[in-house]
């Protein structure tokens, strides 16, 4: 999508000097980063830290999707918004903050709810997708869209003092449905509004999502394909789990997929695709 340049500008060399001297990045990795695009779905507790570190690192284009407006009770964890921006769209708030840090990066806010009618068209324009959402229906939607468009999906989640992270659909690895073929009963799902979350927990997981996405964009294998990171902030424990590979029987990424276009995910999950009260 983005044109790949053969050279770094003097401004890029100055700005990125501290990461250019890393042998694993170098000029080649930096040129690769600046030719890549990342779509972040969710401009909340996970989306804020991941967006700002992707912008800092010099990813070429960052898209930020969120239908919501900034509220005061977001500010304990959604660190790119400000008190002045309460009531304004979260997507443009994140884009503004990222642009103030690095105007070389193109930041595109999408003030919309991702759904089956718009997801594929949007995702096809990006190289890597970050799941920074807060509900089950959107997670299945994003997964299926990433399989249909063949994009890697860096998935993070957080609740209370805990966080989870994995990379789906990376070079033959499993997808969300391989791991979770059936959606959880709606009464077992707790969101951050009901269960609470310590703000820095999605901070840590969002940074980990940015790290995995940066590695993919720079041509370095991510660490959490077919692996799940479990973080418990109260105990200070990180656990890395080997998970199943791609399932040949998976309805979306398997050998004979039954899902070949996006479906109705609110119906599939029996739950709304937002955590707003009905």
């Amino acid at each position: 999508c983005l044109e790949k340049s053969d050279n770094l500008s003097n401004e890029q060399i100055g700005r990125y000097s501290r990461q250019l001297i890393l042998p694993e990045i170098g000029v080649k990795g930096q040129l690769s980063l600046s030719s890549k695009s990342v779509l972040i779905v969710g401009a909340g507790g996970l989306g804020c830290p991941s967006a700002v570190y992707l912008a800092a690192a010099g990813v070429g284009r960052i898209g930020i999707v969120d239908y919501d407006e900034v509220e005061l009770n977001n500010l304990h964890r959604q660190i790119l918004h400000t008190e002045k921006r309460v009531g304004t769209p979260k997507s443009s708030s994140v884009a503004s903050s990222c642009t103030q840090l690095n105007s070389l990066v193109e930041c595109i806010p999408y003030h919309l709810q991702l759904d089956s009618t718009n997801a594929l068209r949007l995702i096809k324009q990006y190289d890597v997708v970050l799941d920074a959402t807060d509900n089950v229906a959107t997670r299945y939607l994003l997964n299926d869209a990433c399989i249909l468009a063949n994009k890697p999906l860096v998935s993070g989640s957080a609740l209370r003092f805990e966080g989870q992270l994995t990379v789906y659909n990376y070079e033959g690895g499993p997808c969300y449905r391989c791991l979770y073929p059936k959606p959880p009963p709606p009464e077992t799902v707790t969101n951050c509004s009901d269960g609470g979350v310590l703000g820095v927990i999605p901070g840590i997981i969002g940074c980990m999502q940015a790290l995995e996405a940066i590695k993919i964009c720079a041509g370095i294998d991510p660490s959490f394909s077919q692996k799940l990171l479990l973080f418990d902030g109260l105990q200070g424990s990180f656990r890395s789990i080997k998970i199943r590979g791609r399932q040949p029987t998976c309805p979306v990424c398997g050998d004979n997929p039954s899902i070949t276009e996006l479906i109705d995910y609110e119906q599939f999950c029996g739950a709304r695709a937002n955590d707003k009260v009905n």
Binding site: P185, T188, V189, T190, L228
Partner: protein, 99 residues
């Protein structure tokens, strides 16, 4: 044969177990070797403190709970048919969806 195992809970699954994240238990004398399939109802009947329907569905764990055997996805170990070994560590993780 009785079988000592460690059961760990995370991602909110511990809320069904009196907020305990780790339980050291001995599965009692049994005519057949313990499998995860036979362990699940025992856990439900002996350790679970509330709302069993949030833990099991049919003969397996409810959708959205991932089971680990010694830090590996149980799918790699035979799922319900896995034969428990003494001192195995079985983890029940509730998947998180918040962000």
């Amino acid at each position: 044969m009785s079988c000592p195992v460690t059961i760990e809970l995370s991602g909110g699954a511990e809320l069904l177990f009196d907020n305990k994240k780790k339980l050291e238990v001995v599965l009692p004398e049994n005519s057949n070797p313990w499998t995860i399939k036979t362990m699940l109802p025992w856990v439900r009947d002996n350790l679970l403190k509330e709302r069993p329907e949030l833990f099991m569905q049919g003969e397996t764990v409810r959708p959205g709970i991932l089971v680990l055997v010694n830090d590996a996805d149980w799918e790699l170990m035979g799922e319900l048919d896995y034969s428990l070994q003494p001192n195995d560590r079985i983890v029940f993780i509730s998947t998180l969806h918040g962000g």
